[in-house]
Subunit: 234 residues, 2 copies
DNA sequence: ATCGTCGTGCTAGTATACAAGTATGAATAT
DNA sequence: ATATTCATACTTGTATACTAGCACGACGAT
């Protein structure tokens, strides 16, 4: 185990150690700093973050619920492999729900909500041109969250997140590999335009296709890092 | 706080105290033994279950994620009010996803899967006639889980569960009040029949209506227990 | 050389003690 | 009678110590 390379942002003074360690660990797992199969232990993480085991245990419990770690009592804990079965289900779920939400959004959301989406897109475009892919990644996620929020579906987005962690790892790998960066942003622009023009059918189709594209072009990832995956069978 | 009336099933020897306490607390909250607004504390629960605070803390963390308790640091923890906003989102999500899953199921699932659904229905009907509403409640939930499982969507069902706790409390209240018990079971029969006959459109419509009916006839609950709810505005 | 035994060190699960902040109510001053 | 102060008890957050079980390697018997 090798936690020196952990990316550690500063801790907000208001947040508890438990919240902080969850934020950091989740981020490091999704960004493949902690690699699938790597071993972690409550003790070493606690030491790396300069805390005791108690708040780390809470964090492990949440990460296990996310499917990001596998806890084997009395044996050890490991960063989970990316489960393609889970990814497939996550894509099905997102495609279904985001289409339904697009139907609501295209029926009409407030001008302010549209502005927020456009402002987010503006930042995405800017960061992409500057090569700040980490920021693009987070803005992408945030844009979808904004859409659910605009439709009063915050909790539905939370539910999606609860099984989307593996999809995030794939999305991050693809972004790192330079796969489908520009196209993705272009699709975002089209989606926002459909919302503005209240073009329901086009918007739904765009969103359905957009989400489904997550598991396109993943073969190249599998070739490079076959040991990151499980339940691959395509 | 008044934990004498907690229903405590025996603990499986294999499960940890953390898992056991989560199972018991969740059950007692959903069955309104612990009432919305009631105060609970890590200490008193630990004492009631004869354990220390550590595993109870994990349980509290999970219950908070489910939206079943509200933790106020240094002040106290309370059984959360039933959030009608969350219920509304949960119904939207279930209606959308269960329809999509029905589309898969009606396209053809194995004979064995259909048998399991029918066996479950048979038990539902039996228990209902015997007045065993607690069992009916659990078989109802199980039936929907079986359907997702038959379509290879176990994780999607898990995601639904992650925001469905409040809906469960409502469903339980309705069942206790004798609201729409028989109709619900009749609908289950129709749904299974549609699957067997591979009648996609009828199956989807039945399921959509079935799920949406959760927030029908809830006014009577609100009249009886207005203090159980928040974000009521209908 | 191979197999089995046992000890050592690691793991996660649990118990307990302490820290820091909040609500409450009694005591006191006005 | 009312307002203020302050001690106290209770809350969750954190740290630490202990328990039980597994992996692994050294060592010895065969």
């Amino acid at each position: 185990m090798d936690l020196e390379k952990l990316i550690l942002e500063p801790k907000y003074s208001s947040e508890t150690i438990g919240d902080y360690s969850y934020r950091m660990l989740r981020r490091n797992i999704i960004c493949i700093i902690l690699k699938p199969g790597d071993s972690v232990s409550e003790n070493t993480v606690a030491a790396a973050l300069g805390s005791s085991r108690t708040p780390i245990r809470e964090t492990f419990s949440k990460l296990a619920a996310d499917g990001l770690i596998d806890v084997h009592p009395q044996r050890g804990t490991y960063i989970s492999l990316i489960d393609m079965k889970r990814v497939k289900e996550s894509v099905f779920m997102r495609a279904t729900l985001e289409e339904a939400v697009m139907r609501v959004a295209c029926a009409g959301i407030s001008e302010d909500q549209i502005f927020r989406l456009e402002a987010n897109f503006n930042q995405q475009s800017f960061c992409f041109n500057k090569g700040k892919m980490q920021e693009v990644f987070e803005l992408d996620n945030k844009m979808h969250e904004l859409l659910f929020e605009a439709c009063g579906m915050e909790h539905v987005w939370q539910a999606i997140l609860s099984i989307a962690a593996d999809s995030y790892r794939i999305r991050y790998l693809k972004l790192s590999a330079g796969v489908r960066g520009e196209e993705t942003i272009a699709e975002h622009l089209e989606i926002i335009r459909a919302i503005r023009e209240q073009d329901v059918e086009r918007g739904c189709r765009l969103m359905r296709d957009h989400v489904a594209k997550l598991d396109e072009d993943v073969e190249v990832l599998h070739r490079q890092h076959a040991d990151y995956f499980k339940n691959w069978e395509r």
